[in-house]
Symmetry: C2
Subunit: 145 residues, 2 copies
DNA sequence: TTTGTTGTAATCATTTTTATTACAACTAGA
DNA sequence: TCTAGTTGTAATAAAAATGATTACAACAAA
């Protein structure tokens, strides 16, 4: 199954905060309007990003901001903040393989290192992309039009 | 969310077919017993693998077999056969970002190439692992005990 | 004190996964 | 040819995850 839209939503949120930080108070309603997603969903994601120290959210007065340099926030940081993958494992195993079967008994052990390599390759790529890349590309596209 | 256990199940199925091919008729019930998964699920996965040309299943008399050399079947082949990811895209986007917002209008375009790189890295790793690797490791573990 | 906002609980609809029952179609062997 | 075992598939259900929505207390600034 696909990786939850929470991840792409989170990147969208960051892009909005950065683009509009000087001209608007970027509230959950503001972000909901740009993403076309319910404001409560936005607030949940902001809560996860806040817990990971990736955004600051002003209680009461409202508005989100980014407390760190954009090049210090990677896609992997965001992914980890919002994904909540069980055990941090990308691949799901069937629960109770038959331990009386030599294959059933060993399948997890046989696959673990290989699947970990796959997951690592993906996470390495995620960590190579930062919000600074997004900022540049966004600016370019906005200036263009 | 995690990648469906259909993938790890499929690898388990291949390992069983190979290990037991000389001593048993490897039916969906046999595989269900080793994986501890319902035989209908096994038959569905076998159907997907068959459609991809990765296994042969004997209608009527029963039993599955692998028609190709193990080193010619990669994890990516299996992943593609059973995953059925929508559009083949690993990452899910929120549906209707606001096109009146410069960020909403461009977010998909901005992210596409970057997310494709991530997906590609993962798929490249998947394609580097074959059933021959599984056969070796399985044999080793079984002989050991 | 008013106004706008956040954080969060509760509920619901939808989708996806997995399990399960049932049975027609099929094949090999008796 | 009949029987027994198996596959393919439909139908249904249960469980889990996602996302939407309503509601409201807590909060902070003007």
């Amino acid at each position: 199954m696909q990786i939850s839209s929470r991840f792409t939503l989170a990147v969208h949120i960051f892009a909005c905060i950065d683009v509009f930080k000087d001209d608007y108070k970027v509230t959950s309603d503001f972000l909901a309007a740009s993403t076309n997603v319910n404001p409560v969903i936005i607030r949940k994601i902001l809560g996860q990003l806040k817990a990971a120290g990736l955004v600051e959210v002003a209680r009461g007065s409202g508005g989100a901001s980014i407390p760190r340099p954009l090049n210090e926030i990677s896609f992997l940081d965001i992914y980890n903040a919002v994904e909540c993958i069980e055990n941090g494992e990308l691949f799901h195993f069937h629960e109770n393989p038959n331990t009386d079967c030599p294959v059933g008994k060993n399948i997890h052990g046989i696959l673990d290192d290989k699947l970990m390599r796959v997951q690592k390759a993906m996470e390495d790529q995620l960590s190579s992309i930062t919000l600074e890349d997004i900022r540049k590309d966004t600016k370019e596209l906005i200036d263009l039009k």
